[in-house]
């Protein structure tokens, strides 16, 4: 098809204009999209449908391998919603998520404001530190924090004891559900601050200085300027960061899972994602496990909608 002769090329270029080439382009688009679409439908689409289907079935590992799952109406959901422990996990996950999102957003905002106040050299130094924390893989971060907070050899316990908090002599951070989850939250927040801070900082640099100068001339205080100028201009970025942080922190798995593996207490620190995993793989109940997955998706729906809506708006503005 490809022909380098000039007249033909011009001919084709002209024809490429709107209508004439439409069917041909449609056909080409089809072939271009085929590989990606096949992969997405089979490897992502199928599991999404399968999750919903399994949540309505009685399915043990054996059933799955042999293909002998059987429909059990809404038994899995009935069982789940009638189980007080499920509510405990839901509440625990919501509290954990809220704590992580709140801490990440507040600290991230403060860091962004600080970045905006620094001289160039200092700013670069802080940016580098943020990048390091951001780039550290979750598995690595969890292992390093475990070492920092180790009962006997951890530098954190040593520092606390040196500061006069004798009760941290040999303190085991993994032995109590609350301290294990707090440690996990600390890892999540430490790794989450950079993205929020850098994104907000990028937003702050977009706000023209003249507005502030005008406001100062009108006698607006710094505080008023912050609430009347900075906050409204960052509100859209803020909303999207809030939605993304919520979606990410609600799904936390790795950090808690690895801490559980070393600390031994599992049940009392399970978050929804881990609870779904254990229900399926340890309790061999893939039906109820999938139902937990469906509940997770449903709970995140509102935040996903905020995000998708905003993205679609961007496409519309672009085209």
């Amino acid at each position: 098809m490809s022909n380098t002769e000039a007249p033909d090329v011009i001919d084709r270029t002209i024809k490429a204009a709107p209508d004439a080439a439409e069917p041909k382009r449609n056909r080409l688009a089809f072939w271009f999209l085929l590989p990606a679409t096949v992969i997405l439908v089979v490897v992502l689409g199928y599991p999404i449908v399968k999750m919903v289907v399994l949540s309505l079935q009685e399915a043990k590992l054996r059933n799955i391998t042999l293909g002998t799952e059987s429909w059990n109406n809404f038994d899995n959901y009935t069982k789940l919603l009638g189980d007080p422990f499920f509510y405990t996990v839901v509440v625990r996950t919501i509290v954990f998520t809220a704590a992580c999102v709140l801490a990440t957003m507040i600290l991230g905002t403060l860091v962004a404001l600080l970045l905006n106040k620094l001289g160039n050299k200092m700013r670069l130094t802080v940016l580098l530190a943020l990048l390091l924390a951001w780039a550290t893989p979750a598995v690595t971060a969890t292992q390093v924090f475990q070492f920092l907070f180790d009962t006997q050899f951890g530098v954190v316990n040593w520092a606390l004891v040196s500061l006069g908090f004798e009760q941290f002599e040999g303190y085991s951070w993994l032995a109590q559900p609350l301290s294990l989850l707090s440690l996990a939250a600390l890892i999540v927040v430490w790794a989450g601050i950079p993205f929020v801070a850098l994104t907000l900082f990028a937003g702050l640099t977009q706000v023209p200085n003249e507005i502030y100068e005008a406001a100062s001339l009108d006698g607006a205080s710094r505080w008023t300027q912050f609430w009347k100028l900075t906050v409204p201009s960052l509100a859209p970025i803020f909303l999207i960061l809030f939605a993304l942080s919520t979606i990410w922190d609600f799904r936390v798995f790795t950090q808690v899972f690895i801490l559980q593996k070393s600390g031994g207490i599992a049940r009392d620190t399970d978050l929804l994602a881990i609870y779904a995993y254990r229900t399926s793989f340890s309790a061999n109940n893939f039906g109820v496990g999938s139902a937990i997955g469906v509940v997770m998706v449903a709970m995140l729906l509102v935040f996903s909608v905020i995000y998708i809506k905003r993205m679609i708006k961007q496409i519309d503005e672009a085209s």
Binding site: S2, V9, T13, R25, N26, F32, L33, P35, I39, L40, V43, L44, I48, K50, M51, L54, I64, T65, G67, K117, L118, G119, M122, V126, L128, A129, L131, L132, W134, A135, T136, A138, V139, Q143, V144, F147, L148, F153, P194, F195, E213, I240, L244, R251, F253, T254, K261, A276, Y277, S280, F281, F286, S290, G293, V294, M296, Y307, I312, A318, S319
Partner: protein
């Protein structure tokens, strides 16, 4: 007026922030160079003096280390290359062709990223189990490919859409073939997009733990993140020096790539909704 240089308070806060953010990484690195006896001191040392490479030797001499490293590398390289190829042609179609259902396709790409993959773990396992891909590197590769594609297509779409169409057409009128027009005009303009999407795929495939932990059961099939978590939970005391050396070896490639292209990753995370 806004004080742009920052006063004493701002600089002090900046130093505290720097220390807090860097300390875990710093501690990981210096601990990896500490001799074993230095781990049991009453007062920990904040500098690795004397320094030793013993921890690294111990980790690398573990005969399985290279198996894990090879597995991780294989998975990562295959996922990066395939994701770029597949995503590039798909992105071209989405950016350049005005086919029916184009908008629906884009919305689908965005929506599918919002499904928490942790919730899909179970049905993903079922799919791979039924396809005979449990305990196969191919199993995780296929899964990672599907995870990165929506983001990769979405990001590349943005880059391709930003290249003025006239530029290509002008090149073709000037006698370039479509292939030449692509190589000389389109490619240089979208190269930054290709870099950032490759790094994204690299980071995901290299770091992923949850699915690998479920799918790769045989030791000989495991990847580095799964291996890193095997230091704890055994009968022996934890070898912190070895664990820190292993963590450094595992994290360094990611950190280096990440720092190189950070700006793009950030933009991508915001627009694609995927955590880097």
């Amino acid at each position: 007026m806004i004080n742009r240089k920052g006063g004493l308070v701002a600089n002090t806060l900046a130093i505290i922030l720097f220390v807090v953010m860097v300390f875990p990484v710093y501690w990981m690195i210096i601990s990896s160079f500490k001799p074993r006896s230095d781990f049991f001191l009453e007062t920990p040392k904040f500098l690795p003096i004397p320094a030793t490479l013993d921890n690294y030797y111990r980790v690398i001499n573990d005969k399985d280390f290279f198996t894990y490293a090879r597995n991780s590398l294989t998975v990562t390289v295959v996922v990066v290359i395939l994701s770029i190829l597949v995503a590039f042609i798909a992105a071209t179609a989405v950016a350049r062709f005005n086919f029916k259902g184009r908008k629906a396709y884009i919305v689908m790409l965005l929506a599918v990223q919002m499904v928490p993959f942790e919730a899909l773990l179970i049905s993903m396992f079922v799919l791979l189990n039924n396809a005979g891909l449990v305990n196969q590197l191919t199993g995780v590769m296929v899964a990672y490919l599907a995870f990165v594609l929506p983001f990769t297509i979405w990001t590349l779409r943005g880059f391709i859409a930003n290249v003025p169409k006239d530029l290509e057409e002008a090149a073709m009128i000037d006698g370039c073939s479509q292939g030449q027009a692509f190589r000389k005009i389109l490619f240089p303009l979208i190269a930054p997009g290709l870099v950032s999407t490759s790094v994204f795929a690299f980071v995901l495939a290299w770091n992923e733990f949850i699915l690998a932990n479920v799918i790769l059961l045989d030791q000989a099939k495991q990847t580095l993140p799964v291996w890193l978590t095997s230091f704890q939970g055994g009968q022996k005391a934890i070898d912190w020096g070895g664990l820190m050396a292993g963590s450094v070896l595992f994290a360094m490639p990611v950190i280096i790539f990440f720092v190189i292209v950070q700006g793009k990753i950030q933009r991508g995370a915001l627009e694609g909704g995927v955590k880097g």
